[in-house]
């Protein structure tokens, strides 16, 4: 069975080591705003949600792509071929989880699971991120996170909406 990335908001401390590390790897500088996962913090309620790309089995980002720039590779990861991208941004609005964004040139970037060796997981000392084949508990977590699917808004707004829902069910 293939390994997947799972997030557990109840364990997340809001440290952002994952986003700092992801940006270092992908952008060569420490720049969390460009990370391929994001953390939504609710400090007053002591809650944080790591927003991750689920490499959806039925991926809206991929389906929305009018060219073949978005594709699924052999390991199931949804990736972007920059050379084929027209910069239309359809994938950005299509992802209900706010996990695709565009760079300065309009080319989208998203999580590629770091060639099967996720840096974010390595830096998460709280075990809020795990890379595993998954068990019932992890799949349940994932299902809960994938349930809220905002259809409109910026990626930031979508992530925030999902995180709000998760916070409410955990903190009341």
């Amino acid at each position: 069975m293939k390994k997947e990335l799972f997030a557990n908001p109840d364990l997340c401390t809001g440290c952002n080591r994952c986003t700092i590390a992801c940006s270092a790897k992908k952008e060569g500088v420490f720049q969390p705003s460009k990370a391929r996962l994001r953390v939504t913090n609710f400090p007053l309620r002591g809650y944080s949600v790591p927003n991750i790309c689920f490499q959806c089995p039925k991926a809206n980002c991929l389906e929305a792509c009018p060219t073949t720039a978005m594709f699924r590779d052999g390991s199931g990861v949804v990736r972007v071929n920059r050379d084929l991208c027209s910069g239309c941004g359809s994938c950005v609005s299509a992802c209900p989880y706010g996990m695709v964004e565009q760079d300065a040139k309009g080319i989208p970037y998203k999580c590629d699971l770091c060639e099967g060796d996720p840096v974010c997981v390595k830096e998460c000392h709280a075990e809020a991120l795990v890379h595993a084949t998954g068990d019932a508990a992890l799949f349940q977590l994932k299902a809960a996170q994938m349930k809220t699917r905002p259809q409109s808004g910026t990626p930031l707004e979508k992530r925030h909406k999902i995180a709000e829902t998760l916070k409410r069910s955990s903190r009341g």
Binding site: G14, R17, A126, L156, H160, R171
Partner: protein
């Protein structure tokens, strides 16, 4: 530029202008960041006799070079100004993620001058920086103010600094809050903002922090994280956080109880780490920190990130409050209204002792929860006579009612939660700190012999120097095993130019001496390097150090050897030889 952003934001609230200026590279090489660099900017900008709350006073907020990177526990930022509470030079620092965000927005620090005509907040949206109207936030607590500023930014997740009503009322121990439960806690940082009519700062930064060689930098960071930070000496922060100190200090007999009457609390179990763990919902961390020492707790309907050790003791034991829910409520009120829990707790315990001794009836008694919680609001809002009395802090309260033998402060700053009679090292640390009684300059509680003055003096001097550079590089106290070799290696790798441990050592000493020069120039003398009367005269009750005092004779012996070791005169003035070695001989202070 590597590690630094190379730019300072200069905000003049009187002139309503926001400008930027290049970071002074020459100062950065001598003072490095955060505390040191803010101190250098500050001493250049004001004259020592400045009134802290006058528009002429300046507030410097400064991040540190490793802040915003993956280096763990390095995201703290410092505020330096003259304190309205002590009148000394004052450094206060905060964790969380405002510091990193400010760097991502492109600035190493902010220099705030003048006074706005009406309440304003500062909005930093990358390079778009504006001064905005804050009239609608007036009177709001910190939590609501942060929410309103975030909304004004129009983006969830913007980072904030905010003040509450206590700071608007310029209470000398009001603080600046950040992300709800983090603070520039001590010395009246909030009143500084309040005096400038500055309700807060909201920041969003989308840029990045660069290093010379990313692969090597990540390798060194990982190496020290695994082989030094995440080792037995430091892991208490991850498992327990500061509440572990409740058991530690009780066992040592240095746990302040009943306004520093006793060194041991017989009912410590209600507020110790086990009690916190039982109430815990989750762990919380500052940016880039794998420890997550913050414990988010809930008891009944009261929730908070905390309480931390100082609050558990000064708002708990020391007021003989043994109820975790009450301490959480006290803590939350302080965090929202904008009061330093340490000074607030200590001032309340003083009023309790004065009431019980018949000095003056404040209707506050040890162990009485209702009035203890009520008075916090009265202090912050200045709404009652006793609230106005307590709002001035322990020193003024004791002076007003002739109870100077009961007030537990040094240079006007209320003592932290470590009893100096049981550990002389803490006494030496309190007496010699530039900002008054403080545990963040030296922390010799683990000394082999807690009463060996000579050994403790040496330990205090070394720790003060080491912490001066540690705070200047933005490191958190809880990387207890870090040293200037590790710091120098990380700095060298990040900057791409050699930095030596020796120059960092010297910078620490430079910062300490420059602070001293500032205090001397404001009129402080060796006579102010002292301890509360109770510590010097009244024997400690309960615990292993029962019967001890830290006598005047012992203190003067300690100070004599302290000054000698620092190469200061018998009157506590740095020698010209020492100043020349540190490159401080040309300072105008």
């Amino acid at each position: 530029m590597n590690l630094y952003m190379g730019k300072m934001l200069v905000v003049d609230l009187s002139a309503k202008t926001v400008t930027t200026e290049p970071l002074r590279a020459d100062w950065a090489r001598e003072y490095w960041g955060a505390w040191g660099l803010a101190l250098r900017y500050y001493t250049d900008a004001v004259s020592p006799e400045v009134d802290p709350l006058a528009p002429e006073n300046v507030v410097v907020l400064m991040t540190a070079p490793l802040c915003g990177t993956l280096v763990p526990l390095a995201s703290r930022m410092c505020l330096v100004s003259k304190s309205p509470h002590t009148g000394t030079i004052f450094e206060s620092n905060v964790g969380g993620s405002f510091g990193p965000e400010l760097k991502y927005a492109g600035y190493d620090g902010i220099i705030i001058k003048g006074r706005a005509e009406a309440p304003v907040f500062l909005k930093i949206d990358d390079d778009l920086v504006t001064i905005e109207c804050a009239e609608h936030m007036t009177g709001q607590g910190i939590f609501e103010t942060e929410k309103l500023m975030e909304a004004a930014m129009g983006a969830h997740g913007a980072k904030t600094l905010a003040i509450g009503p206590a700071a608007e009322n310029m209470i000398s121990y009001s603080m600046i809050g950040s992300e709800s439960y983090r603070q520039f806690g001590r010395g009246g940082t909030g009143a500084l903002f309040g005096s400038k009519n500055l309700k807060g700062v909201v920041c969003r930064g989308t840029g990045g922090v660069a290093v010379a060689d990313m692969a090597k930098f990540l390798e060194r960071t990982d190496h020290y994280t695994r082989n030094d930070l995440l080792c037995d000496d430091n892991l208490w922060a991850k498992t327990d956080g500061t509440p572990i100190l409740v058991e530690v200090t009780n066992e040592m007999g240095i746990h302040p109880t009943r306004n520093y009457t006793k060194g041991f609390n017989g009912r410590k179990e209600t507020l110790n780490s086990d009690a916190i763990q039982a109430a815990k919902l989750g762990n919380r961390a500052c940016a880039s920190c794998p420890m997550a020492c913050g414990k988010f707790t809930r008891v009944n309907s009261a929730e908070i990130e905390g309480p931390e050790y100082e609050t558990l003791c000064l708002g708990g034991s020391n007021c003989e409050i043994h109820d975790l829910e009450a301490v959480i409520r006290f803590n939350r009120l302080c965090d929202d209204l904008g009061l330093d829990t340490m000074t607030c707790g200590s001032t309340i315990s003083l009023a309790m002792e004065m009431t019980e001794n018949g000095v003056h009836n404040f209707n506050l008694r040890f162990g009485q929860v209702d009035e203890y919680l009520k008075v916090v609001y009265e202090i912050a809002t200045l709404s009652t006579e006793r609230g106005r009395d307590l709002a001035k802090g322990a020193k003024h309260l004791a002076d007003k009612y002739g109870a100077t033998d009961l007030s537990m402060e040094v240079k006007g700053l209320e003592m932290p939660a470590y009893e100096p009679r049981g550990n002389f090292g803490m006494g030496i640390a309190y007496a010699t700190s530039e900002r008054g009684a403080c545990h963040l300059r030296a922390f010799p509680i683990f000394a082999t012999d807690p009463h060996d003055i000579d050994a403790l003096v040496t330990e205090v001097v070394n720790a003060q120097n080491a912490n001066s550079i540690k705070w200047s590089l933005g490191f958190c106290d809880f990387w207890g095993t870090i040293n200037t070799s590790i710091e120098a290696d990380l700095m060298s790798t990040g900057l791409g130019e050699p930095v030596s441990a020796e120059e960092l050592d010297q910078a620490g000493e430079r910062i300490w001496n420059l602070s001293r020069l500032f205090n001397l120039a404001t009129g402080f003398t060796a006579a102010d390097d002292t301890l509360p009367k109770k510590i010097m005269e009244r024997p400690l009750e309960a615990g292993p150090h029962e019967g001890r005092v830290f006598s005047r004779a012992d203190l003067s012996r300690a100070l004599q050897s302290y000054y000698e070791l620092r190469d200061w005169s018998a009157r506590g003035i740095p020698s010209s030889r020492k100043l020349a070695t540190l490159g401080l001989d040309k300072t105008t202070l």
